[in-house]
Subunit: 682 residues, 2 copies
């Protein structure tokens, strides 16, 4: 047993004996305790704040006296005066061991601190960014031992911070000599710690101790919108979030029309590449301005996107993705310099693209897998990222399957007669009274039902303009529950349904949701064609999920996660009535919000997560729906509302589904419900 | 003992038994015999040509019969018809083992073939370039096992060629899918094999078998001129050599004026960087046009230059190199993308800069060390690269010392009254008749002496315009040998010297070399100020060499190598009379030509040479002349002609040096010869 004082760190529990006079930071380093420092123990950065605990610690078998640490010193005094040190805190590099001591490392003093995610079921993100700041003192040049300023800087970084042999970007070489001299041979360096592509290198040098921070971007490059989170790479905080429309929309609303545009126009793919990169740069200007930071401080960016966007962003013609066998130019993750993609960030900024899973299942799906971690789930989870293409993951810690299903744009309000994008004025919530069969609704931007007082006033500016994706799902499900639509998907007449809002239109019936024509507004209806569109979309989605369940040899899943911005607004009950997703307890159907964007943020903040998702993607088993005969079979059966493939006892326990059939002539759109494993008409 | 036939390869002597039917190429690979192939044995590239030998080989203990190899086949027949196969040759991939056989691998069929250098004493260059071509057949995409086209290409390269895990440049990703399909899933790849900075990567993909080659540039970036060799990276041949003036000359003739320009002008350094890069691109256009090749086929470039040019080329202000302690921004070698330096080569071309030895001893000196390899020399070699700054290396396999000495531009014809750059019309050879004391000379561009018939006619176009660097050395040495100049450096009067060409000018005398004024030409003279300039320059050079000899604790060297374009034109005898170099047997004073350029070529053609010179430079001991008191001492004593520091018995055995002293007043420019180790006036 050593006679030296015992130092115990909490919460890690790591302990060791240290000579009197040892700084707490030194003790922490020797024990491998995760205590941050940028200045290397020079009392400048204050990142190594610790909280000493005093008193009796029977658990640890020590008693800590008031004299356990060296007294508050002038460095701490100065720091406290200028910037303020929270009560009870000491600087780990200044306070030295005098006697047995218990030291708590608060979360914000940990290098690998946890970034807490909003959702309860989500794992926290451990900070471990690719680029970090290091403060060093550099040896001055000596004519007798000539060596470059860079080589002496690298030597100091290696010695003080145990960094590998570094290189420097050209921009650093240009600014290095003035910075070293201005800082009196003390500088702060931003160091990219390297990956499979890039050797570890110095990206920027500031004279003296750099008080600021560095940033990274997590970008979700969607077909319609480009959304980004700007993160502080030291704290992990999201300091700004912003989005712009994808300027490629002018070349085609959906992906296949963009692929076609590239085929039809000699420089079509290049035009689209230029457009998306310009849009990206516009977004960067916007987000930096919102956060009031210099864009040159953004040193890292992670991108997730579907395969077509992935190729177009990289400057690759997505031609091959438009036809079987849907060959990706490259499926692995990519590490690039931002400048190679014409992105205006820090001149040495690095860019990381997550791997693609298959020709139809992109880096966005990989990001969802990173965020939702089906490969770590004890129970069987179905993850659906709803968009123009639905990406579907099914799995648990045993295995994970993935496929993509061509839902089309109906869920986004497109190809629906009164459909529109989610924007103020769009109907997003609908209820149909089971007695009167009349609808009431809410629009985006107003918390009132349209039947409540003040609705007209509050929506005066936006009006009621159409139905957005989540609205269309609710309305169709409500129509089904109210008996206005039957299981095969036919809207009944006013007589059949008892609803005065049903009216004949062509050879079928439509349902009036809102008539604003008196005030010059639109007449918002649901036509039978709309119902068909939604049936097609939901059948595609469901069939994909069902196909994965077949492959997994299961008839039910433990939980369902709806991902995507749209997924965040879907009502689980309505989704299930519609038959979008398999029967599951409603409280086990959750929304993950923009899980792809969250996956990008994880990859941005934790370099190990990049390696992890690269490995995970290799293990994900891809199912190509086009090659599976059962997909077509499921698709046909899944067009019923709800689908006719499986029983739905859980749903039945919650809602009443009237057993109506509006197709008096028989045949037509389907035959009501039919169980797949035990066929029997109800 | 195996019963399989024995295969013996010459010249390697490697041997082994192989089953009947084994292709010779396969046997070579298994034995590690250096037999080239780009197509991987598919009978396309013909790089694996071998020559079977028949008859009795008592040395090897085998008799080779005519049926030792499989018969000439249709692939060979086709190749021979289309392109022609030299007599006696077979394709190693087609000819299979049938019986005991002796197979010769001709030099051109070796991967690591030797590139023969012109000089007898120089080592040959072993081909081992950083970028090579590989032909592969790629598996077609399969929807059941989705993977990117790139990943399947990489898999094939790894399997067929044992290449490491590769990445691809963005440009490759863009062209990959069309190339694979156009080539029917067969492509040829240019692969950069990687270095400390870059991971191994595919730089270009051609559909099918690519019949062409790829190129590299070895560039000597001098203060005055930029010279480049364009090399075939498969054969090592120099296919074109070209040079342009360094456009930076407009910012200052010598390096220090350029450093000053950078200090005096806010964007001065950037202007000079832009200028040199523009000059470089102009050179690339010129050399590619001379060789009639596409500049986009130049995939690699190696640069050597002095430290100031090094920094300016990289975009670093050379300010610190203008003042003690002459700190380099970086001294290590650099591996960059050509695009980072705004160079218009292959879009993915890589660039390598050799390391600098010290603030005054640059990558050019490192290249000289690579070319002349003093660190591998058995005898003690002094290598002098003469330019505005002289770089001096002294060493043998035990150790190597290096220094730089500020000779100034006099050796390049600058700051000499009738001096000029080496160009047609410049006097480059001079003889002074020992009896008449009258000169005769030759000018660049004409092989006749000016006293010979036809000289006037042959030089009618250029005229006689001035004296170039090598001419000024010869003329001063000749003046010394003719007694027109004394040891301290004074030109005598016509009476003192007996030469009618001596005439008084100011307080001293001048010597008339040529009077063209009658025809409107110049009057070319050597003034006593010119003599002083040359004395200063040669004293600086000699003192540097002498300082290294002191450090090495020797009084003489075994051999002297004069490097640099100028060095190629210096007459060793005259250089020794002048006292530029230490006393040495004239046949041991050789010219290495542009050794820096050759060093660049070695680093271009052999990647191991890069690692080698990086290690060598670390081991070279740098002497900073400014810090050595003895440098000044040597300098003062070395101004005599020849210098007064050492005895020169070898020189004395060749030439007669009259013991004159034109300074009748005594004192002044020196005291004649004085031996350093055994002081005694002669």
């Amino acid at each position: 047993m050593s006679n030296d004082p015992l130092v115990i760190f909490t919460p890690s529990g790591k302990r060791g004996n240290f000579a009197v006079g040892t700084p707490i930071l030194t003790a922490a380093r020797q024990l491998g305790v995760d205590l941050d420092s940028v200045c290397g123990g020079r009392g400048i950065c204050s990142k190594c704040q610790i909280t000493p605990s005093y008193g009796e610690f029977s658990k640890h078998g020590v008693t800590v006296h008031e004299d356990a640490l060296s007294p508050w010193n002038s460095v701490e005094e100065r720091y406290d005066t200028i910037r303020g040190l929270p009560k009870g805190r000491r600087l780990g590099c200044q306070a030295t061991v005098q006697n047995d001591i218990v030291v708590d490392v608060p979360p914000e003093s940990q290098v690998h601190k946890q970034v807490v995610r909003k959702r309860a079921e989500a794992r926290d993100i451990t900070m471990n960014p690719t680029t970090r700041l290091y403060y060093v003192e550099v040896q001055e040049p000596d004519m007798h031992e000539p060596s470059g300023d860079l080589e002496r800087l690298i030597q100091s970084l290696r010695k003080d911070w145990d960094l590998p042999e570094l290189e420097a970007d050209l921009g650093v070489l240009k600014s290095l000599q003035p910075a070293l001299r201005k800082g009196g041979w003390k500088v702060t360096c931003a160091v990219h710690l390297g990956d499979d592509t890039f050797s570890p290198r110095i990206m920027q040098v500031w004279p003296g101790y750099y008080e600021g921070t560095i940033y990274g971007l997590a970008v979700d490059l969607g077909s319609t919108t480009i959304a980004a989170h700007l993160c502080d790479l030291q704290t992990g905080d999201v300091v700004a979030s912003s989005g712009v429309m994808n300027p490629q929309i002018r070349f085609g609303e959906d992906l296949m029309s963009r692929v076609s545009y590239g085929m039809m126009n000699p420089n079509g793919a290049d035009e689209m590449t230029t457009a998306v990169r310009e849009g990206m740069n516009a977004l960067f200007v916007q987000i930096a301005s919102e956060a009031e930071i210099d864009r040159n401080l953004i040193v890292d960016a992670v991108f997730v996107c579907n395969p077509v966007m992935h190729h177009l962003f990289l400057g690759i013609d997505p031609f091959e993705l438009g036809q079987a066998p849907f060959a990706l130019a490259t499926s692995e993750s990519l590490s690039l310099r931002a400048i190679e993609l014409d992105l205006n960030l820090h001149p040495s900024a690095r860019v990381y693209l997550l791997p693609c899973i298959a020709g139809h299942v992109g880096a966005d799906a990989a990001a969802v897998a990173l965020s939702e971690a089906p490969d770590k789930s004890e129970d069987l989870v179905l993850i659906v990222d709803v968009g123009t293409n639905a990406e579907i993951l099914l799995g648990n810690k045993e295995k994970v399957l993935a496929c993509s299903s061509p839902t089309g744009p109906a869920f986004e309000g497109a190809q629906i007669s009164s459909g529109q994008r989610a924007a103020p004025g769009a109907i997003e919530r609908v209820e149909i009274d089971p007695i009167t069969k009349l609808p009431r609704f809410k629009v985006i931007g107003c918390d009132l039902w349209n039947t409540e007082d003040g609705f007209a006033k509050e929506t005066a500016r936006t009006g009621v303009t159409g139905i957005c994706g989540s609205g269309i799902i609710e309305i169709v499900a409500e129509m089904r529950m109210a008996g206005i639509v039957d299981a095969p998907g036919l809207i009944g007449s006013a007589e059949q349904t008892g609803s005065p809002n049903c009216f004949p239109e062509g050879r079928t019936n439509s349902y009036l949701v809102y008539d604003g024509t008196a005030d010059g507004g639109p007449k918002i209806t649901v036509t039978n064609v709309d119902i068909r569109q939604i049936q097609m979309a939901k059948a595609a989605l469901y069939s994909g999920a069902r196909l994965l369940m077949d492959k997994f040899e299961v008839d039910s899943v433990d939980r369902v996660v709806l991902a995507g911005a749209f997924g965040a607004h879907i009502s689980p009950k309505h989704a299930m009535v519609l038959g979008m997703i398999p029967d599951a307890p409603l409280d086990r159907v959750t929304s993950a919000g923009n899980a792809a964007g969250t996956g990008a943020r994880i990859a941005l903040l934790n370099r190990d997560a990049r390696t992890e998702i690269e490995a995970t993607v290799h293990d994900i088993h891809k199912i190509e729906t086009a090659l599976e005969p059962r997909f077509q079979e499921h698709f046909v059966n899944a067009s019923a509302i709800p689908n006719a493939v499986e029983p739905f006892p859980i749903l039945k326990s919650i809602v009443t589904l009237p057993d109506v059939n509006h197709n008096t002539g028989g045949g037509g759109g389907g035959e009501g419900r039919r169980r797949r494993r035990k066929p029997s008409a109800e």
